[in-house]
């Protein structure tokens, strides 16, 4: 079979053993392509383990600027014998299998429809290095060097990246560049470089990416930076994959930006709590006392925080929670992605509760929505939950640069300070709806010597915060909370509508990381004559735009990454969808980010065959349709 031809448009996957230093070498590979000006989206597919288990790194190169997963693999770089059988099998016909040929390949790994590139990685390492650790680490750098020749990566960019990476540890630069050259020269000498699949700088790129001012950043770091910009001073958290790097990054930025120059003391506090319950309690306590505070967690933490989320909802205390979702239920797949906390977050806690959710789709949105979340939390006096996920949070995404408008001012919400309290002649009612928007006024502890003190509680109370079991007072309060939720509709980020080129009654709704592959799938289908309008939901509660979109389409594909169609259920619950069947679930939940091909396949099947193929039979179906 002829090798596949592709310029700036392919998927390359690295099969490594975790804990061997492959992540930084692979990251350098992706960053080099990014610096060549070619759209790239790398993804770490890693185990819940520190050393010795199979781990993969998938890099999609797309001159059109598609950043979601495409599906399929064109080049497999196999450095891990443990997973070789599945790695050989996963390669598309016409693809390249790059492997360590120090030992001959077992016959069972031979396929006649793919092409083999053998690199004597172990042999080179044994020859060049005596230290076992060095042999392990430099093997990664050597194959990156070889790929530079095979795929036509600009070698000077790689050299610059090495220098960047080892800033402060300069003695490591030369040996790393030497290792790159070992690989590069071996490939140049032994293969006809570049391969039929390769990169070309300046080739027509980036249909979707306006200018190449983009950055490469992970969502967790962006969210952390958002918290810094929003003026968060307190972070309380409990370590959990995949959210841990949010607070780690917040810490890093605070050490740089929040040290009092005079005293060297910290103008922030980060506490690692004993569990997620406590983390949320601290966030609530700090917000109650007038500091902006947040926490970051994942599904299991959301379960534990539910009790406190109910308190914050009912007692009307601001809180910001960044939920970096992973595959549940229970411990689930801790290092795999999903969008499966939607309902748990929307209705967290017992009793009648509803929470405001934000759905970022890019690192730029992780940043801007986190800034916005603090305003919303204080304006609405309620928890705001940012629904990120592992794919967005832990992988580096090409993103428009982060932006901040210096004329923007924080909205600290309805807070009566000492002067306002002093000037007040009427009795202060903490839960009194003075403005008719359901949002009462609050005071910070210690604000005024004799006015504004009140009793915060999770028990029923009247407008003046006094305990009551009077049913009427309870209902007034619950209805006011509902009114406040209506007010929220006008404040939360609006959805993004994208209409098809031709008028259509087909619609698709998606959110977060499903957006990239969904937009790509819609374009694949459009080329086949299937037109679909799309709406990217960016927040809950749903506003009138969402209602209108549902009204104006006869069938709406709700694309999401969970088993139960949680967003679909939320739409059925919280909008006036006239017929349940109007919303068609398009679901993926195997823990890997959904691919454009899978989405296109499912929608195509529904339109042509009238049903959606169940996930168990979908793997084959997808390969056929590809």
């Amino acid at each position: 079979m002829q090798p596949k031809q592709a310029i700036n448009d392919f998927v390359i996957k690295f099969a490594n053993v975790n804990g061997t230093g492959s992540a930084s070498a692979n990251g350098m590979f992706a960053k080099a392509i990014f610096r060549m000006g070619i759209p790239v989206s790398p993804r770490n597919i890693f185990p819940s383990n520190i050393q010795g288990m199979p781990t993969w790194y998938e890099v999609r190169v797309s001159q059109d600027g598609y950043l979601g997963r495409r599906g399929g693999t064109d080049i497999m770089v196999c450095v891990n014998p443990q997973s070789m059988a599945q790695d050989v099998a996963g390669l598309e016909p016409g693809g390249y299998f790059v492997y360590d040929n120090t030992k001959p390949l077992e016959p069972r790994f031979l396929r006649d429809d793919i092409h083999y590139i053998g690199l004597p990685l172990t042999e080179i390492c044994l020859r060049e290095y005596t230290d076992a650790r060095q042999r392990l680490l430099f093997k990664n750098v050597i194959y990156v060097g070889a790929l530079a020749a095979l795929l036509n990566i600009d070698f000077t960019i790689l050299k610059d990246l090495v220098s960047d990476q080892f800033k402060g540890k300069e003695r490591l630069i030369t040996p790393n560049i030497y290792a790159l050259e070992l690989g590069y020269q071996h490939a140049q000498a032994n293969f006809s470089c570049p391969l039929s699949i390769h990169l070309e700088r300046g080739h027509k790129v980036a249909k979707h990416i306006e200018d190449f001012d983009n950055i490469l950043m992970d969502g967790n770091t962006a969210a952390a930076l958002g918290a810094v910009y929003a003026g968060a001073t307190v972070a309380a958290w409990y370590p959990i994959t995949p959210s841990t790097s949010v607070v780690d990054a917040f810490d890093t930025y605070c050490r740089r930006l929040r040290i009092d120059p005079g005293t060297g003391k910290k103008n922030y506090a980060i506490v690692q709590a004993e569990d997620e319950l406590s983390a949320m309690g601290m966030v609530i306590g700090a917000n109650w006392n007038g500091a902006r505070a947040f926490t970051a967690t994942s599904g299991p933490g959301v379960s534990l925080m539910s009790e406190f989320l109910g308190l914050a909802y009912f007692a009307e205390v601001p809180a910001v929670l960044i939920d970096v979702q992973r595959a549940g239920p229970s411990t689930g797949m801790p290092t795999r992605t999903q969008q499966s906390d939607i309902l748990a977050a929307a209705y967290a806690s017992h009793g009648d509760t509803k929470h405001v959710l934000l759905f970022p789709a890019t690192p730029a949105e992780c940043f801007s929505m986190t800034v916005e979340a603090f305003d919303l939390a204080e304006r609405l006096q309620t928890p705001i939950i940012i629904m990120s996920d592992l794919d967005l949070g832990m992988n580096e995404w090409m993103s428009p640069p982060l932006e901040f408008d210096d004329s923007y001012r924080y909205d600290r919400g309805k807070v009566l300070d000492a002067d306002a309290l002093e000037a007040m002649t009427e009795r202060f009612g903490r839960y009194l709806d003075v403005d008719g928007d359901g949002i009462p006024y609050r005071t910070y502890p210690g604000a005024h010597p004799s006015k504004g003190a009140y009793f915060t509680r999770g028990t029923s109370r009247d407008e003046y915060a006094a305990y009551t079991e009077d049913g009427q007072a309870y209902v007034r309060n619950m209805d006011r909370l509902l009114k406040k939720f209506e007010t929220a509709k006008q404040l939360v980020p609006e959805p993004k509508l994208k209409e098809a080129e031709m008028e259509t009654r087909n619609g698709a709704v998606f959110f977060g990381t499903t957006a990239s592959p969904a937009y790509e799938a819609i374009e694949i289908l459009e080329k086949e004559g299937i037109c679909i309008d799309t709406l990217r939901i960016r927040s809950f509660p749903f506003n009138e735009d969402v209602e209108q979109f549902i009204r104006e389409h006869d069938r709406i594909f709700v694309i999401e990454q969970n088993r139960d169609g949680q967003m679909r259920r939320l739409l059925l619950n919280e909008t006036s969808v006239p017929v349940k069947d109007r919303l068609i679930p398009i679901l993926e939940y195997d823990g890997l980010p959904v691919t454009a091909r899978k989405i296109a396949g499912m929608i195509r099947n529904f339109i042509t065959l009238g049903n959606v193929t169940p996930i168990t039979r979908r793997a084959q179906a997808e390969e056929i349709s590809a």
């Binding site: 983009n214 506490v271 306590g285 109650w288 505070a293 009790e307 502890p445």
Partner: protein, 349 residues
């Protein structure tokens, strides 16, 4: 029991240095059972704050759930209060304290709230040495759900149904000493002479001050056979009396030498106590634990200031936070602005 609290003030009611009467430190009318030990503790808190000239608005009251946790409504009505969820007061108090280190934090909890559902948060609040006064109103039972045994119920104690408890009790004072609280006292709701100065000392302490106050439940745990009844506890308590001497005030009380001990607090005030046992070094953790255990082996419960570490590092010291409360930092001070963002973007290309 009357349902309207009289607003009448005696024109000659004594005032403190702030010009406020004791009545100014009171709260709403208690809805607890008549004779409940918790009301005596609320009264002791009122006395302590009045006598210490604390401005009520500089106090934040926090509690969990249960009879005890209702009591912040019954004292210091001029203070903000947060009645949180069951067993979770310490975390809310931690967050509040992180936001504003300048307020005085009083937490009120019960034995169910602290020793069962909230044991983890209690222990971690203590080990972080959170600067607060944490009062456990300990009656050995769940009053608000009608008298079930709590984790502090003593082995051998008989509950209202007649069942004898065979489990080991949780001693919150000993636990607090073990996990890092820096001020630990035990007292009795019926002993105002000891309790008021102990609360004053706890409020003056910088760090986590735990007070385990035995506070009999008159409705469900005050019968014969209960080890937490008024009668029984009076018979077993071994009292270490103490005086609290505020800053710059002359010391008047006098005790027999040898067992008298004076402790200068962080803020300059003084605690003077009369120990039961001259070997008990209240500034030594092991000695304090031994003194408690020794009395227990004699069938007695030692009350008073059991342990103090005067110069410990509270949570803010551990974290290295600035002296100025975090909630007073302005947008200008906190937001790095677009220029810094440009440098961030540049570093991500």
């Amino acid at each position: 029991m009357t349902y309207i609290k009289p607003a009448f003030r005696h024109p000659k009611a004594p005032v403190n240095d702030l010009g406020w009467t004791r009545q100014d430190y009171e709260g709403g009318l208690s809805t607890l059972c008549a004779g409940c030990g918790h009301d005596s503790i609320s009264a002791a808190i009122v006395d302590a704050c009045f006598q210490l000239n604390i401005e009520p608005h500089r106090v934040a009251k926090l509690s969990g759930i249960g009879c005890s946790s209702k009591t912040p409504a019954y004292f210091l009505s001029g203070s903000h209060s947060f009645n949180s969820v069951h067993g979770r007061m310490p975390s809310v108090a931690t967050g509040a304290n992180l936001a504003n280190r300048d307020l005085i934090y009083i937490g009120v909890s019960g034995d169910g709230d602290t020793a069962s559902i909230g044991l983890g948060q209690f222990a971690h609040g203590a080990r972080r040495n959170l600067n607060m006064t944490y009062i456990v109103e300990n009656n050995g039972c769940y009053g608000l759900t009608k008298g079930q045994d709590s984790a502090t119920m003593d082995t051998g104690s008989v509950n209202k149904k007649g069942d004898r408890n065979l489990s080991t009790p949780m001693d919150v004072a000993r636990l607090a000493i073990e996990v890092g609280a820096t001020f630990v006292g035990r007292s009795f709701s019926g002993d105002k002479e000891q309790l008021v100065p102990l609360i004053k000392a706890a409020l003056s302490h910088r760090g986590f001050a735990l007070l385990d106050v035995i506070s009999p439940c008159v409705t469900f745990n005050n019968h014969a056979g209960s080890y937490k009844s008024y009668e029984y506890f009076r018979s077993v308590k071994e009292v270490m009396p103490l005086d609290f001497v505020p800053v710059r005030e002359e010391i008047t009380a006098s005790y027999a030498s040898g067992t008298t001990c004076e402790v200068r607090m962080h803020d300059g005030s003084m605690v003077r106590l009369h120990k039961q046992d001259s070997d008990h070094d209240i500034e030594d953790r092991q000695s304090a634990l031994q003194a408690i255990a020794h009395h227990e082996s004699q069938g007695k419960v030692l009350t008073g200031l059991l342990y103090i570490d005067r110069d410990s590092e509270e949570l803010h010291d551990q974290l290295g936070t600035a002296r100025r409360p975090l909630n007073t930092l302005t947008e200008q001070e906190l937001c790095p602005g677009s220029k810094f963002l440009d440098s961030i973007n540049a570093g991500l290309r």
